[in-house]
């Protein structure tokens, strides 16, 4: 693949988006005044189906809004062969949707033919880097474009890990020439679960490769934080978002909500808060992202 442009060209910017969820179709499509959202992110697999109402609604949303595709099943870290059927269907959906970009997670989701349907952690090793880089290159070649890889929340560390998560992510992005979807909530969750400094994470990621931010809520269980996407975003994650804005500048930002999904108005208010946070942060004198 020849990526269409050098990665250090100006970062495309979509503004503030939400995850497209079926419970909101009606409000999005029937309201004469379009909701105040700049773009939507879809879960790719939800639309990798033969036909019916979901694809019809997707087409109608696409007529009104830019979309990006976010997958959960690429399983880029798996040691099973890449699923060619999956990639073919992913590409067909991309041809239909014409997304601004396509993302998935830096993780594995299955092995030995079994799909675990979870974002499972990889060991941070040179072997895993080489393995993932080769697969990202194959995927990018198939799709004819760079993909974004997202950092996942994790709950354990492998003994064999030989570097930090952000070193692992950054090295893969550089070697595979892919882009990064930085999930601010996941950085926060993992920094608590593994006791690292989230600002070190932000400072360790190559700014020119960051194309998108995710924001989400989580569940704090005292000893461990679980990435549940079922609550509003907490203050500490908003603060980390402000740090990320100072470090990376304007980056397309969206809010993920996958459970206990509130009415659209509530998410739009949360998205407005993200706008305000971004405007205030970026208007303020620039300070280094250090404690």
């Amino acid at each position: 693949m020849n990526p269409s442009s050098p990665v250090n060209s100006e970062r495309p910017y979509l503004g503030f988006g939400l995850g497209l969820r079926p419970v909101h179709y009606e409000e999005i499509l029937s309201n004469p005044t379009p909701p105040k959202v700049d773009w939507f992110e879809i879960i790719s697999e939800n639309y990798m189906i033969p036909g019916g109402r979901p694809l019809h609604n997707l087409d109608r949303v696409r007529e009104r809004f830019p979309l990006v595709m976010h997958g959960v099943s690429l399983s880029i870290g798996s040691t099973d062969p890449l699923d060619r059927d999956y990639l073919k269907n992913l590409k067909a959906l991309a041809d239909r949707v014409q997304p601004a970009w396509i993302s998935d997670h830096l993780c594995w989701t299955g092995a030995h033919g079994t799909n675990m349907h979870d974002l499972l952690p990889l060991p941070y090793t040179e072997e895993a880097i080489r393995h993932v880089v080769e697969r990202v290159q194959q995927v990018q070649e198939t799709l004819g474009r760079r993909i974004l890889l997202e950092n996942v929340s994790s709950y354990l560390t492998y003994k064999q890990s030989a570097m930090t998560e952000w070193e692992f992510l950054s090295e893969i992005a550089r070697r595979a020439d892919c882009l990064i979807l930085l999930d601010i909530n996941n950085i926060y969750v993992s920094s608590f679960n593994h006791e690292f400094d989230p600002l070190a994470y932000l400072n360790g990621v190559p700014a020119e490769r960051v194309r998108q931010f995710h924001l989400a809520g989580h569940e704090h269980n005292g000893d461990i934080i679980i990435d549940t996407h079922d609550h509003p975003i907490v203050d500490s994650v908003w603060d980390l978002y402000a740090h990320a804005l100072r470090r990376f500048g304007r980056v397309s930002t969206m809010i993920e909500r996958d459970d206990h999904i509130p009415p659209l108005a509530e998410l739009l208010a949360e998205l407005d808060h993200a706008r305000t946070r971004a405007d205030e942060t970026l208007a303020a004198p620039r300070v280094a992202a250090h404690r």
Partner: protein, 264 residues
């Protein structure tokens, strides 16, 4: 632990997978025991999430069966199904596609025939929901075909069409459950009844077929032309009435939105 004891990536993932599937695994020895949660506790986050996510997916695909059975029984079935049939598809949307087959084969549900039938029927409705789209032919089109072309006429059917042979009254039970009404008691017929489920625009329809229509639909799906349908229908209908009966089926199929193409 020295470097030679570190498993290669493939082996590490295989151990992790075995752990999630509740099979013997040494994955715990490769996890850092640090902070306030030990390695076993950290692994259990993943094991719990694995099962609860698949149970959620099963609930999404079988909401009416879930209502009918109640939480406890549905969960018991779900857990057993997850152990027996881990997901092999990249999309969780297809998780549960073997549930009725699983129930038929598994004690103590292997004699719960109405439960099996409801699972079977509900899965058919879920397949219909997002089956491929296709344009259907209008009744005017059929009416405009010159009579000499009728005998060789073959039909193509909508990709959403699903057929089920049921001896239990699962469809009315399913309908009552979707409306949050009290369903009828399960009841059995002497011989199986053919039900068809399909989509017209975006609405799901279903109905039962008489035995001759069931045969004719089967034959038409297998490529029989109109003359062959008439010939076969002679088993149930007098020869003088058979063409009218077959034409009646065809008209009904067109009105149902089941026919996408007629090749004369």
């Amino acid at each position: 632990m020295n470097a030679s004891e570190q498993p290669p990536l493939a082996q590490l993932l295989a151990e992790f997978r075995r752990h999630l599937l509740d099979q013997p695994s040494d994955i715990q020895t490769h996890i850092v025991d640090a902070g306030s949660v030990d390695a076993a506790g950290r692994l259990s986050v993943y094991a719990n999430a694995y099962r609860s996510r698949l149970l959620e997916a099963l609930d999404a695909n079988y909401p009416e069966l879930h209502k009918w059975l109640g939480d406890e029984e549905f969960r018991r079935i779900g857990q057993a199904y997850i152990e027996q049939h881990p997901s092999q598809h990249y999309s969780i949307r297809w998780f549960g596609h073997r549930l009725s087959e699983f129930l038929r084969a598994t004690v103590p549900w292997n004699e719960e025939y109405s439960m099996q039938a409801l699972a079977d029927f509900e899965w058919a409705t879920s397949e219909v929901f997002d089956a491929a789209n296709a344009d259907v032919v209008a009744i005017d089109h059929i009416a405009s075909l010159p009579p000499p072309t009728w005998p060789t006429m073959r039909m193509q059917f909508h990709p959403s069409l699903r057929r089920r042979q049921l001896t239990w009254n699962a469809p009315p039970i399913w309908r009552a459950l979707t409306r949050n009404e009290t369903p009828d008691e399960p009841s059995e017929t002497e011989s199986p009844i053919t039900w068809i489920v399909w989509r017209q625009a975006f609405a799901i329809y279903y109905r039962s077929l008489d035995v001759d229509e069931s045969w004719a639909l089967d034959a038409a799906l297998n490529g029989a032309n109109f003359a062959e349908l008439c010939e076969g229908l002679c088993e149930w209908i007098d020869a003088e009435h058979v063409a009218a009966r077959a034409a009646g089926f065809l008209r009904q199929w067109v009105q149902d939105g089941l026919i996408t193409r007629v090749d004369a």
